[in-house]
Amino acid sequence: MTDIILRTVNLTKRYKDRLAVDHLNIEVRQGEIFGFLGPNGAGKSTTIRMILRLIFPTEGDVELFGASLKKAGHRALEKVGAVVEKPAFYGHLSAFRNMEILGGLQKTVTRRRIMEYLERVGLADRACDPVKTYSHGMNQRLGLALILLKEPQLIILDEPTTGLDPQGMKEVRELILELSGERGVTVLLSSHLLYEVEMIATQMAIIHHGRLRVGGSVHDLLKKGPSEVLIKTDRPSEAVQFLKANEVYKSAMIHSGGIKIELDQDCVPELNRRMVDAGFNVNAMVPQRSLEAYFLNLTEGRES
């Protein structure tokens, strides 16, 4: 028995001469929050649409809960809930009716359950209003309510916090963590907000030009290679001179009133000790290494 919920096998999509997705192989395991990253046009949405059978692969296959999408067809999507790109609803109908229709395709849903999930995303008081009067953020929340209504085991979210206010973004992140932690739901999350993936994802894959560039645990990937550290000290100019005298710290430079230095995360405590020993007041040492820097390095070809 495997715990792999989702697997793409040499998944390929070609549009005439353009290869949108090129023999992509990713695996998502039970209970993971899987960050799916890539710049615009990298093939993320095409991949997600192939997983959801909205578009058909030119080559390769998708396995959902061990079943081939090619063989099982729509039946493979029974335990999957998804919001692809901007959630779209029947604008002339109320949120309640939309939930009833789009949530009731597989099985009848009760009024109580619909209201329960609308309440969960804070839309219960607008349940009877036409969805065309909703803001983008409300549409996003309605999309999440619709997914929850289906009670899926795998949730696929494409840019789920786009258009939400900070509070809304926080709520969505908390919801994802709750679903993953308490209910054991597996989440595939595509996002341009890289810090978001960094904050909540356990595994990730980065694709570029339709190809998988890197994949693995977020923690391990971010640990690899040098990263930047921002140091706040009382005498930054003198501190830079002091640091540059040491070959290890030669990348030190003044940055935003502090010092920026390229350094392995593991060497940060040693740097702190040396600066304090040299008489500098170290107010803060903030690792600047982020998924964003990693992502940019990777997609711009600067990182191996």
Partner: protein, 279 residues
């Protein structure tokens, strides 16, 4: 399946565009009946009498409600497709345009069932429209001009007893609905090709107009392809008013019209089942 059809009924019959046709004919038909009642009836009378008085003795209420009901059916069948395409053209393309397929098709429900539910609702709408127009024209005409025997001038002159007329008109409406099913299913097929509702409407009307031109022209080449054009069978409803009623020909017409409807539906299913949803 019933749930899917019910959902499609909700989606279709809660949109104002669904009622454009009902509103249009709901305004036009009473206007024309009023115009006939206020004098227009006389011009009919004059032309009929001038045509028939040399050979027939005309008595009774010839220009009655049944007569105008028959007249309306003959006059409106070219216009009905326009309003039908407004709904049929939007059934698939509208979902594509709105992006709702991203939710609708990511469930464990086959595309064929979703398309079938949409198609059934399109046919329900089509039948409702034909019956609405039929009921409205006959109802208003009978109310305004009373009943009587129906004078049919088609391959000669025929007078049909009033007792038979409700049955004949109901049969005629059934055949008219079947002819309109072909229009709706063609538009439905075009709707599966695109995410723009206007395209299927224009394409369907273009096919109908070109086909009508072809069957109207007395060229030998066009006459040869006439049997292959569905508009050639649009007048099947008129045949129930012939004497004797040519049931064999009507049965063939029914089979051909049903064949076109089913063929267009199957083509839509085959295409849509493998269509990439990019919207």
């Amino acid at each position: 399946m019933f749930r899917l059809i019910w959902f499609e009924l909700i989606k279709t019959f809660t949109r104002w565009r669904t009622y454009i046709g009902f509103m249009a004919f709901g305004i036009i038909v009473p206007m024309v009946v009023t115009g006939l009642k206020l004098g227009g009836q006389n011009s009919f009378k004059r032309s009929l009498i001038s045509m028939l008085q040399n050979d027939f003795i005309i008595g009774g209420n010839i220009l009655n409600g049944w007569f105008f009901g028959f007249f309306f059916m003959g006059a409106l069948w070219v216009h009905v497709p326009i309003v039908l395409t407004i709904v049929a053209g939007d059934q698939i393309a509208g979902e594509g345009n709105a992006g709702t397929f991203r939710f609708l098709l990511t469930h464990s429900v086959s595309r064929t069932r979703i398309i079938a539910a949409k198609f059934i609702v399109t046919l329900i709408y089509t039948a409702a429209m034909v019956l609405f127009i039929g009921g409205l024209t006959i109802g208003l005409s009978l109310w305004a001009f009373g009943g009587g025997e129906l004078l049919v001038i088609r391959r000669g002159i025929l007078v049909i007893q009033e007792a038979r007329l409700p049955y004949l008109f109901l049969t005629a409406y059934g055949l008219a609905a079947l002819a309109m099913f072909v229009v709706s299913s063609l538009c439905f097929l075009f709707s599966s090709f695109t995410d723009n509702s206007i395209g299927p409407i224009i394409a369907t009307m273009a096919v109908i107009i070109v086909s009508i031109i072809i069957i109207s022209l007395p060229f030998e080449m066009f006459q040869a392809i006439r049997p292959y054009l569905f508009v050639n069978y649009f007048d099947a409803w008129q045949k129930v008013f012939d004497d004797p009623v040519p049931w064999n020909i009507i049965r063939t017409d029914i089979a051909i019209l049903a064949g076109f409807t089913i063929a267009f539906f199957i083509m839509a299913v085959l295409y849509f089942s493998r269509k990439d949803i990019l919207s």
